[in-house]
């Protein structure tokens, strides 16, 4: 299973590395969002600094939507999904591989966004370990839930518009937990953030388990 996962993740990441869609389109979009938030919310009154945790995670959420759409668009051309089905790879492995590839891209985007928030919004970091743990747990949850709902919408004509309405309410606990943990790590008391990190871990475990179980039947019937 893990060998299959590594194969699929390697393939997806190689596709991204060669097509450079994440690098040339999604990452600039992430930075653009930070600029738009800055323009929309008055930068002088400290609103940005206070809201930076929430804005960061809203930006991550929207980037995640793009990355998930992208992860299944690359399979839709040339019968890629049929090839995956016929490949004999373990469906749980395919799920973990695709989720891992999305997670790696999200981590990259989060580093870009974090640098942007620190530089542009003047946010101070008081708890690096909490920051890193929150990013890790939230990213696993986002990638797992995203991959599960992504394959659900993959075969549909209206997938671009259906995925956000299906996925974003499901991800709302991640937004809440990650924002609260970040508030603690960015200028707050880091000790307050760890229980929220626990919530993110529970969410991640739930969706890794659900995805591992459900991905096979969904891929068969997508």
């Amino acid at each position: 299973m893990f060998h299959d996962a590594a194969l699929v993740a390697g393939k997806d990441l190689r596709v991204e590395l060669r097509s450079k869609v994440t690098l040339q389109q999604v990452a600039p979009f992430a930075v653009l969002m930070l600029i738009l938030f800055g323009v929309a919310l008055d930068p002088d009154r400290g609103v940005l600094r206070r809201a930076s945790s929430g804005l960061f995670w809203v930006a991550v959420l929207f980037c995640a939507l793009l990355a998930i759409q992208r992860a299944f668009t690359i399979e839709s051309a040339d019968g890629g999904r049929d090839a995956l089905r016929l490949s004999g790879l373990d469906p749980a492995g395919i799920f973990l591989g695709k989720a891992a590839a999305i997670a790696v891209q999200l981590i990259g985007l989060e580093i870009v966004l974090a640098a942007g928030v620190i530089v542009m919004y003047g946010t101070e970091v008081t708890g690096w370990p909490l920051l890193a743990a929150t990013c890790a747990a939230a990213t696993v949850g986002l990638a797992a839930a995203g991959t599960l709902y992504g394959v659900l919408a993959a075969g549909l004509r209206v997938r671009e518009t259906l995925l956000p309405i299906l996925l974003l309410p499901v991800l709302s606990p991640v937004l809440i937990g990650a924002t609260k943990a970040f508030e603690a790590a960015l200028g707050g008391a880091p000790a307050d953030g760890w229980p929220w990190c626990g919530l993110l871990v529970i969410f991640a475990l739930l969706y890794v388990a659900a995805g591992t179980l459900a991905f096979g039947p969904l891929l068969e019937e997508s």
Binding site: A153, V170, P173, L218, E221
Partner: protein, 250 residues
């Protein structure tokens, strides 16, 4: 059910209908006339006799959808698929009613139609989750196959209860850190006529839900049959066409 039913009612659903209407009339009497006004909330408390039951039914509807989805995964029978959709659709109406009545109650009591109260927030997210589930059921995939449609709907339907639970829990925790409950919602020592009216409301709205669910289920079932008949008719037409075509060439 006969092959050409004229309506979706049966003796059971007619009995439920009568019970629903009678119950609603009785509830109206108790809620508006026979129960006293609240000491703190005044007459606004009467909205609670609709608001609380719709909330309970809305969350129960999620449970029915998840249960029906689990049963579909086990049995793969069309009935469970139709039930999941019917429960969610009627549940969506009750969720909407719950939000609207809550808003109407909030205006005189809190002075605002909307507050970032944990229950409002999680009920609104429940509303969106149900909308998403129903939207997913509506769309056909590129190859338009019932088994594919069923599997997708069943997975999202099954995840409805864990999603609602984790959303509810996280929103609750999120808000409780900000502000302790500023207003006592329902008086915890509610008793007498008010308690009776509330329990009556819950019972009546449960019956109304089951009544609507039964009809919606039958409509859904007939829709499936109509879809099948459409396919059969298309096959017959195509065969006739082919027959005429080959006849003409001879």
């Amino acid at each position: 059910m006969s092959a050409h039913p004229a309506s979706t009612s049966s003796s059971a659903s007619r009995a439920l209908g009568v019970l629903s209407l009678g119950g609603l009339a009785l509830l109206l009497g108790y809620a508006l006339v026979w129960s006293p006004a609240d000491v703190v909330q005044g007459d606004a408390v009467r909205i609670m006799y609709v608001h609380v039951p719709t909330a309970i039914v809305a969350f129960a509807a999620c449970g029915i959808t998840s249960l029906a989805s689990a049963m579909w995964l086990r049995k793969r029978s069309e009935g469970w698929w139709v039930l999941g959709g019917a429960a969610a659709e009627v549940g969506l109406v009750f969720t909407g009613l719950c939000l609207v009545t809550g808003s109407i109650w909030g205006r005189p009591t809190w002075g605002t139609y909307w507050d970032w109260d944990p229950r409002i927030t999680s009920t609104t997210l429940l509303f969106v989750l149900l909308v998403g589930y129903l939207a997913l059921r509506q769309v056909d995939n590129e190859r338009g196959d019932a088994a594919q449609r069923g599997m997708r709907g069943a997975v999202v339907g099954l995840l409805l209860v864990p999603n609602v639970a984790i959303v509810h829990y996280s929103v609750d925790w999120w808000r409780s850190l900000h502000q302790p409950a500023t207003i006592t919602r329902l008086d915890p020592t509610i008793e007498g006529t008010m308690l009776f009216t509330l329990v009556l409301g819950i019972a009546v709205f449960s019956v109304v839900y089951v009544w609507l669910l039964l009809h919606r289920f039958r409509v859904g079932w007939l829709e499936e049959r109509a879809g099948d008949r459409g396919i059969d008719q298309a096959l017959i037409d195509r065969r006739a066409e082919a027959g005429v075509g080959s006849g003409g060439s001879q």
